[in-house]
Symmetry: C2
Subunit: 304 residues, 2 copies
C-alpha cells in the first residue's frame, strides 16, 4: 500500500460525532465546541523512553498515547472533546503497525467519547514517535488548576500507587469519569494527575498553591504490583512515575464527607495527607516527621 493510500485509509477511519465536522482531506479539522473555554493538552511518546514497542505491542502503545493525554484532561476536571494524532512510523511493517496503533487508540477514543479528528502520518528510519493533542471542555466546576490548594485542605488520591512499570503504565484507565463524578460531590480546590510520582506531583501542587504538605506514610495506598527491592514499597509509592491516578485538594468538610461516602464507583478515595502554610513537603512516619524531596522520576540530562 503506498503511503498516499495508507494516509487516506487512516483518514477514513477518523470518526465524526455530533460535535465534530471533519472534512476528510481538509487541512484542518473543524470542531464545534460547547464552551468558549477550551482545554488543550499535548504529550509525545517515544519508543525506548515511554514504552518499548517490541515488548508492549502496538495496540497498548496506541492506547497509552491517548490515555496519557486524557489523564491531563481529567486532572483539570474536564471532559474530552477530540484528539489529533501525529506519528513518525518506522519504514518496515508500517501499515500493520499503524493499523494496530490506531485500533489501540480507537478503543479508548470510543470509551471516552473522544473521536480522533485528524493527524499527520510520516515514515522515517527512526523509532516510533507519537504525539497527540487532546481538546476538552471544562467540567461543572470549571477548569481545576494546580494553584487552588489552601493550608488545612485534605490531600486525597484515587486508587493505589507505585509499581506501574509492571503494566499499569500501559493499561491504566484515565480518571476522566472519576474527576467528573467527583465534581457532583464537592468543588475540588486543586488537582493533578500523578505522572511523576506522588512526591513530585504533590510538590507541583504545593509550588503552584504557595503552600506545603505533609504526607502520612501509613495512609498511602500501595499498589499490589509494588515489589520491594532496593527501595521500600513506600518509596515506590512516593517516587514511581506513571500512576495516572488523581491527587486532589479538598476543603476538610468535603474531605470528611467524601471519605465517608466514597462516591466513585469502583475507585477508592484515600486521604494521604494535608496541606499546610509552612512550605516544603514532609512525611509523617508514626509521629516522626522528615523532609521529602519533592521529586519523582527524572530523566538524566546531558549537556555538551
Amino acid at each position: 500500500m503506498a503511503e498516499f493510500e495508507y494516509i487516506r485509509w487512516v483518514r477514513e477511519r477518523v470518526r465524526s460525532s455530533d460535535r465534530v465536522r471533519v472534512g476528510i482531506g481538509d487541512d484542518c479539522a473543524i470542531l464545534d465546541v460547547p464552551d468558549p473555554r477550551v482545554l488543550v493538552t499535548t504529550d509525545m511518546l517515544m519508543d525506548g523512553v515511554h514504552f518499548v514497542l517490541a515488548d508492549a505491542g502496538p495496540r497498548r502503545v496506541g492506547r497509552k498515547a491517548l490515555a496519557v493525554n486524557l489523564s491531563d484532561i481529567a486532572s483539570m476536571g474536564g471532559r474530552p472533546l477530540a484528539a489529533v494524532v501525529s506519528v513518525a512510523l518506522p519504514r518496515r511493517g508500517t501499515q500493520q503497525l499503524a493499523e494496530e496503533l490506531l485500533r489501540g487508540m480507537e478503543t479508548l477514543a470510543e470509551e471516552f467519547a473522544c473521536p480522533l479528528i485528524g493527524g499527520d502520518t510520516n515514515t522515517w528510519n527512526g523509532p516510533l514517535v507519537l504525539s497527540l493533542t487532546v481538546l476538552g471542555e471544562p467540567g461543572p466546576c470549571g477548569p481545576i488548576l494546580r494553584s487552588g490548594a489552601k493550608p488545612g485542605d485534605w490531600l486525597l488520591v484515587t486508587g493505589s500507587l507505585g509499581g506501574s512499570l509492571a503494566g499499569k503504565h500501559l493499561d491504566f484507565t484515565p480518571r476522566v469519569r472519576e474527576a467528573l463524578e467527583l465534581q457532583k460531590h464537592c468543588t475540588p480546590r486543586a488537582m493533578i494527575d500523578l505522572s511523576d510520582g506522588l512526591a513530585g506531583d504533590v510538590g507541583h501542587l504545593c509550588d503552584e498553591s504557595h503552600c506545603g504538605a505533609i504526607l502520612a506514610a501509613d495512609a498511602i495506598p500501595i499498589d499490589a504490583a509494588v515489589q520491594a527491592d532496593r527501595q521500600t514499597p513506600l518509596e515506590h509509592a512516593l517516587r514511581d512515575g506513571e500512576d495516572f491516578e488523581l491527587a486532589i485538594a479538598v476543603a476538610p468538610e468535603d474531605g470528611n464527607r467524601l471519605m465517608r461516602e466514597q462516591p466513585l464507583p469502583g475507585v477508592r478515595l484515600t486521604r494521604v495527607g494535608d496541606f499546610r502554610a509552612e512550605l516544603g513537603l514532609w512525611l509523617d512516619e508514626g509521629g516522626k516527621r522528615r523532609r521529602l524531596e519533592p521529586r519523582g522520576y527524572e530523566h538524566p540530562f546531558e549537556e555538551t
Copy 2:
C-alpha cells in the same frame, strides 16, 4: 541545567495573550475561543526528513515547524489562535538546541499573534522530532474546504512555485494574511496550501470537489530558485513540494476582478488553470493537452 529546570524555563517563556489563560504548570492550557467553530491542525517534523538540523540550524527549524501549521490554518481561510509544541530533543546540547528552536518559533508566533500556550518536552538518544498543533478561528467566509470548487471556476495561486529546497521550504511566509485579505474581496470556493506540489494538491482539490482541472503550462509562475536539471523548470513547478503558497478556486467573475485588482500587498495572484466537469488533471501546453498524474512529491513506503 536539569531537565526539570529547563522545562520550567520553557514554560515561563510561554506567552499569554488576551485570549489565552495559561496556568503555568497546569496539565492543560485554557484557551478562550471567540467562535464555537475551532480549526485544529497538527504537523510533525523529523530531522533528516523535513529538515537537516545540521544544515538549517535550530532557529529555522523551529520557525518552519510553526510555519507549516500556520499554512494549514491559512488554507482554511482561518486566523491562528494558539499553538502547543511537543519535542523529542537529542540528549547532547539539549538546552541550547531547545532555546534556539523556541526563538525560531517565537518570532513567527509574534508575527501571527499565535502564542505558544503549552507543550511537552522530552529528551532521547534519537534525532530531533517536533510536533505542533495549532488552533484557529474561521475567517469572515467561514472555514474554506477543499470540496467547494465547481466546473468553470478559475484556479489561482499566490506567489511562485518550485525550487523550494533551495531555501523557501524553511523560510517561507505562511499565507495567513493573504487568505484573510482575499476574503474581503471574494468568497473563495475551495482552497489548499501547496505542500505536495501543484499537481498533487490540485489533484486533492479535484478529488474532494468531484471535478477535474486543466492547468495552463505557460501561465504557471515558476520561482526564480528553480534550476533546470533532469527535470524541466515546469516539472519542478508542478511537482516540487513545500511551496506553501495557496491554490484557490474562485467563481469566474471573482477571478476576473482579482486578476485586475491584485488585492494582496506584495503577493501576486496568478490564474494557472480552470476547473471542469470532466474528471482528471490535464496540462495545456500551447494548445496540446496531456494528462497529468495528480501526484507531487512522495516518500517511498516499504513493507515487510
